[in-house]
């Protein structure tokens, strides 16, 4: 029932979910960075993600490698089609990494302000671009024969993808502020707690807007629901997860709030994948003829099987040391001589 092609579609979904949950909070922290006042607060912010952001980004790198290996045609079409957008994303990720590393290396105020700005901007731009990419995938892009993109850069900036981009940004801000609530203490924690109400409120508005817009603009999104009605249960769980965020913050249970927002992200990505399936890239020119699916865009069965073995061999290690690292750096952020 689940063949190798579907297996890889699911595994890519898992990698993307891992990425969105983990890098989601540190992109969120970055997008909130300029709201922190003074050098001490900013360093706390930076160091809350200090030991983990790099490992979080590896989920994206592995997602890219796995997409290349499992569905090379989709990899080629998406990345060449989104050329400028991806270049912009790469510049954002470069700047972000370097800003984190270099910001605290000098005490000069100009130096730190420059990197603070770069860190903020790069984080926010990356978050928006991820959302825009997802929005475009949902709505379909002009893919023609041979899997070649036939549109222009501006075809990617339609209202729906931009809305999804904005939603992604506020979702990550919410996720990041909850993470900060976990990692800070005292006055700063109180301050961050107030932010959660704000970010959650804005997220809720965008979440509802995006849901409505999806049903109107992308009718194919619910095509698979007729075949698998049980997925409606997941929609309900998604709503419950969203609703649980304010409840757990109100009750003072930040851990539960964080799990809830992680579940929200996971559910949204599941729904995204479910809406897409069996397509990887939907063609807006002729969805039947030119769309790249998990079958026509895939590598050979042999490669998919080899990669499955690599994944089965590697993933337990990955999960084990990801857990170990988060365990070593558990607890509230404190600045030491080794901090950023």
């Amino acid at each position: 029932m689940i063949d190798l092609n579907v297996f890889w579609f699911i595994l890519l979904g898992v990698l993307l979910t891992g990425y969105a949950i983990l890098d989601g909070f540190d992109l969120g922290v970055g997008s909130l960075h300029l709201f922190a006042k003074g050098d001490y607060e900013r360093r706390i912010f930076l160091n809350s993600i200090g030991p983990v952001w790099d490992g979080n980004e590896v989920w994206l790198v592995t997602f890219g490698g796995a997409l290349f290996a499992a569905f090379p045609a989709a990899y080629a079409a998406a990345f060449s089609g989104f050329y400028l957008a991806f270049m912009l994303l790469l510049f954002a990720l470069i700047f972000r990494a370097v800003a984190i590393e270099f910001r605290s290396k000098r005490e000069s105020r100009v130096w730190r302000s420059f990197w603070d700005g770069a860190f903020f901007l790069a984080s926010a731009v990356a978050a928006v671009l991820f959302g825009v990419a997802v929005g475009n995938m949902m709505q379909g892009i002009p893919i023609g024969p041979g899997g070649e993109y036939q549109g222009t850069f501006f075809d990617l900036l339609r209202p729906y993808p931009l809305l999804v981009g904005a939603m992604t940004l506020v979702m990550f801000c919410m996720h990041g502020s909850i993470y900060l609530y976990l990692k800070t203490e005292g006055d700063l924690q109180e301050k961050v707690r107030h932010w959660i109400w704000g970010t959650f409120g804005v997220f809720l508005v965008f979440y509802i807007l995006t849901t409505i817009f999806t049903l109107v603009a992308v009718p194919s999104a619910i095509r698979n629901f007729e075949k698998y009605p049980w997925v409606w249960g997941l929609v309900v769980l998604n709503v419950l997860a969203v609703a649980n965020i304010p409840r757990s913050i109100y009750k003072g249970m930040p851990g539960q709030a964080f799990i809830s927002s992680a579940c929200t992200i996971a559910a949204l990505i599941f729904l995204f994948g479910f809406a897409l399936f069996p397509n990887l890239v939907t063609s807006s020119i002729d969805p039947e003829k030119f769309s790249l699916t998990v079958y026509n865009a895939a590598s050979s069965q042999k490669t998919l099987a080899i990669m499955r073995n690599i994944a089965f061999l590697g993933m337990p290690f990955v999960l084990a040391y990801t857990t170990a690292i988060y365990w070593v750096f558990r607890g509230k952020v404190r600045l030491t001589r080794f901090s950023y």
Binding site: K37, G38, Y40, G50, P51, V52, D54, G55, V58, L60, V61, T62, G64, G65, A66, F68, A69, P72, A73, Y75, A76, A77, F79, S80, G81, Y83, M87, L90, L93, I94, A97, V98, E101, F102, K105, R106, E107, R109, G146, G147, E148, Q150, F153, S299, T303, I306, I310, G314, F317, V318, Y321, T322, I325, V328, R334, L335, T336, R337, F338, S339
Partner: protein, 482 residues
Amino acid sequence: MDFDPLLLSRIQFALTVAFHYLFPPLTIGLGVIMVFTEWQYLRTKDMQYEVMAKFWTRIFAINFALGVASGIVMEFQFGTNWATYSRFVGDVFGSALAAEGIFAFFLESGFLAVLVFGWDRVSPRVHFLSTVLVSLGSMFSAIWIVVANSWQQTPAGFRLVEHQGALRAEITDFWAVVFNPSSMIRLSHVLIGAFILGAFVVMSITAYYILRGRHMEMAKKSFAIALAVALVSSMAQLVTGHYHAVKVAKHQPAKLAAFEGHFETGEGGAPLHIIGLPDQKEKTVRYSVAIPGLLSWLVHMDSSKPVKGLDQFPEEDWPPVALSFVSYHVMVGLGLYFILLTVVGAVMYKRGTLFQTRWLLWVFVVSVIGPYISNQLGWMAAEVGRQPWIVYGLLRTTEAYSQSVPGGQVATSIGMFVLIYLLLAAVWIYVMNDKIQHGPDEADATGIVAKEGLAGIREAILKGEEGSLTATAEEEEEGSQR
């Protein structure tokens, strides 16, 4: 204006790879030295080793960050600029990239955190273990990248299949792909090249300290370790370099002929051009100083056997000869220089005169540029020599680029890359210089940490900030009053 997307994509790839490849060799090489240093610390409990380990970790972290930041470009560039290539090789090449992610990147990035931030959080043993894992991770990553690259040079373990109206390479034998004819010899050559670079960086920095009379004890200890690594690696590199060239002669004869400027196959033994400048039009090597028969001897162990020259191949299959020749020859020349310098250094060290010989220390300070250049040229020779093929004998570079990306967009992205890389290079030099001038922290020895405790450190940091960042500190007070 008309932009040629193929040419621009090639320029962009060369530019981004060259920039990226400034960093991984250092992290690989320095990683080995850090492992050795920390092991010495565990063994002897000599605080100096801990001071050293902490200092090198800082240098490591800066370069690692830039390696990660610039490396992410590499992975996505296959899709953005080389879509046709990606469709052709995805079945083979992609699994190596995915394996790199799963087996190497998670390991490196995860444990790097313990390396940099974990000194007070884990025991010295666990910290040492993390250093070992990070070092292993950086090498695993090299393994998969070199395997993927080598497959492009000497493809094996695949068949060509028509898929969706286009040809592509599909795996038939995974292990034949991994152990393709050139992967293991290339891997050893690349890793040793990285060890040499790491060792020369350490020697350059510590020679500078010795010359300035700073951090003497730590500097001398580090220098000695690095000198040993550099000596052994330089010698070993001569061996791997030789066998690598023999492999190239066997599997990519046109490439070797271009490296050596060998135009005519000839009857008897082939000469080796020690220096010269090939002229592709005239099919001759100008200003040549050559040793008769030596090339034949190196390739066949027989100075009278002919070596295949470029005349055996149609001219449209020739790599750019001058560029291949020069990059290859300068690399080899630098390799010989490393042997000479480290042997001299080792002899003087044995005699106990090295650290008093100021001119030689200065030579070590500036020689750091050598391995940077030779590492770059090694890749350049390998990649240029493979032309005009992107996958040797199977797919031409001219056929491999993204058809749907307009040249203007590639030009835009190159412009942005140039700007960003210039900025990053400037920042990198500035911060590296800053770290080197600041030097190792003698207070890094954990004895002091234990005495003052973490609370003391936090106070010290806050105090330091008030002093130097008065304005910010004031803001902070305002903030808390509000």
